[in-house]
Amino acid sequence: MKPSRLCAVVLPLLAVTTGSAWAQAPGQHNAITDVPGISVGHFTGGDAGTTVVLAVGPTGQGVAGGVTQRGGSPGTRETDLMRPDNLVEIMNAIVLSGGSAYGLAAASGVMRCLEDRGVGFPVGGGNVVPIVPTAVSFDRATCGGPAASRPDFAAGLQACLAATGGAVEQGNVGAGSGGVSGGVKGGVGTASVVLPNGIIVGALVSVNSEGAAYDGDGDLYAAPLELGNEFRALTKAGGHRHRIPPNLAGGPLRSGTNAVVATNVQLTKSQATKIAEMADDGVSRAISPAHTAGDGDTLFVLGTARLAMATLGDESAVVTQIGTAAANAVSRAIVHALLSAKSTSCQPSYCEAFPSACRNRR
């Protein structure tokens, strides 16, 4: 085959690929709450907090979920039951919390909140057991002192009671309150995307990473994944930086970027697990190094079942499409987290550390 003919074959393929990418746009709030059935609540208590993602299926029950857990220092609850070979197929909420392993207590508060509403896995007699998988991270933005508070039962209860649809507050809130990322302030970020075939994918992350989300010049790795003008005129950092403290010592239990991905498609547990694995690539692309021995990185996926898989075409192709979109949404949510985070007394925000990159942001 002559080169010219090869080009003729390849170019239309490229056009199709990039064309479909351009057809993507963020949802109304550019948040995980753009996925029908998803609501988010934060509880922020000083330098630690809790974020809950509630999920409701079309008939009021929970939704199928999956998880991948690749960081080396996890703190988790109820991840065993999410394995596809295990019984329970409905998840009612995902809790992300600060407070290291102590913060797992927040899930009990979320369980109480949901039980009071009659939401959970039915176990007979009208009783329910809410299914609330959870991951925690270690708050490091405490400026050398111990954390003023750690998320407990009440933190989970408050986050659950505060959960709403609509816009999601980002930055130094909820599970991201105590987050640090590569020497700058971490936090909560969210993003969403609507695909031409009606699939909606949203992500919410709590960034608290041993690795950095920016390269040697200070440019955020995932900035090129911007949809529209969502990063609001973020520009090149040009290597100009101000007072970035050395990254805090790593080691077991020291950090953890935890995430929730949601889609409006009806998923099986196996499909949700596969999408979780693909979505986790979004963490890999936005933070380097990721999934270290000291990171707790855990990523959950929820499918709220507003679109039947059968109406969308080949299942494997749809799973790949969702997984691809999810990875990008996770990366974008990490950028939003860094751009939304505010400086603390000991931790500069990304925009304070790299003012050139943010000079045009409104």
Partner: protein, 357 residues
């Protein structure tokens, strides 16, 4: 010809070697016949009664000095905490306690109380700024709503109380701690423990809360499926009584959760292997086991006071038998409950000849 001879010799050597490996060492129960015979292991129960026949509770197995830990999770309906960090490739290799609780997933709150109890005692993994984080994996079983309101369940205070009650002394069995509200194949379940001291000085112990859909004994004769692990102390006594079938809710929502421990120093991967082999003791003692409605989870702890190179197969085999024995001892120790409308027979109610001593 020569090749054949050489091969034959090699095969014989391999056969001898594998026989030696597989051979279980002579063993006797430890002085307490309990998991607390393992140096460095303490156990505390907290038990609550509803007054209407309902019981629930929490059992804390504490390794104050830290223990290398592993887990296997084979039941289909688990409720767990901190099992991810026990996987061999994860960074944290030490656990300070394992918490077993009733209360279904709500009972996972008990681990919070054990964490704060251990923190107040300075037991935990050092992190930043002088702070510590106790590593406390946990598993729960389903007992809510049995002869009690559905919200009669363990909370964080149960963990605190179980942790404060922990000692290295004899361990109470039967209707206590995590096994207080347990049932097993139509009879009362409970907590059991057992230990073995091997002739080379290895100590292995097991503690279990038996709450199984499957049964532990032949319904007609009462003979325990894993009775052979008890040696000669359990002479067969046939009876014509038939045991009741498990209730439907027990079939759907059960769970047997256990901890095995040894004084041998193990790597995390070896601790995970130990948990897997110990789980065979559960399979031999309960039929069926690991069903879709069971949350069966087995943890392993290695306190490491004995530093000789471990023979993991011997330790695993002893742990499996110790777990089988602990399960039988749980069923024998359990008391029937007969409070107004709440009636659950114990094994010994059904087969008194087997329980005379």
């Amino acid at each position: 010809m020569q090749l054949h001879t050489a091969l034959g010799g090699m095969l014989t050597l391999m056969a001898v070697a594998s026989a030696a490996l597989a051979q279980t060492l002579p063993q006797t129960p430890g002085p307490k016949n309990a998991i607390t015979d393992v140096p460095g292991i303490e156990v505390g129960h907290y038990t609550a009664s509803s007054g209407s026949g309902g019981m629930t509770g929490t059992t804390a197995v504490i390794a104050r000095g830290g223990a290398t830990a592993g887990v296997t999770q084979r039941g289909g309906a688990p409720g767990t905490r901190e099992t991810d960090l026990l996987r061999s490739e994860k960074a944290i290799g030490t656990a300070h306690a394992v918490v077993l609780s009733g209360g279904s997933a709500y009972g996972l709150a008990a681990a919070d109380g054990v964490m704060t109890c251990l923190e107040s005692q300075g037991v935990g993994m050092p992190v930043a700024n002088g702070a510590i984080v106790p590593i406390v994996p946990s598993a729960i079983l389903f007992d809510p709503g049995r002869c009690a309101p559905f919200n009669f369940r363990p909370d964080a205070s149960f963990g605190t109380n179980a942790c404060r009650a922990a000692t290295n002394g004899p361990v109470q069995m039967g209707n206590v701690g995590a096994g207080a509200g347990a049932r097993s194949g139509g009879v009362k379940g409970g907590v059991g423990t057992a230990s073995a001291v091997l002739s080379n000085g290895v100590v292995v112990g097991a503690i279990v809360a038996v709450n199984s859909a499957g049964r532990t004994f032949d319904a007609v004769t009462g003979q325990f499926f894993a009775g052979y692990t008890l040696g000669n102390s359990d002479a067969a006594v046939a009876t014509a009584l038939a045991a009741p079938e498990a209730q439907r809710d027990e079939l759907l929502r059960a769970t047997t959760i256990a901890v095995v421990a040894t004084n041998v120093r193990l790597t995390k991967a070896q601790a995970n292997k130990l948990a897997q082999m110990a789980d065979d003791g559960l399979a031999r003692a309960i039929r069926p086991a690991h069903g879709i409605g069971d949350g069966d989870t087995v943890f392993a702890l290695a306190t490491g006071t004995m530093t000789e190179t471990p023979n993991i197969t011997q330790i695993g085999a002893a742990a499996a038998d110790a777990l089988s024995r602990a399960i039988i001892r749980a069923i024998v120790a359990a008391d029937g409950i007969h409070v107004s409308a709440c009636n659950v027979d114990s094994y010994c109610d059904l087969f008194p000849q087997r329980c005379r001593h």
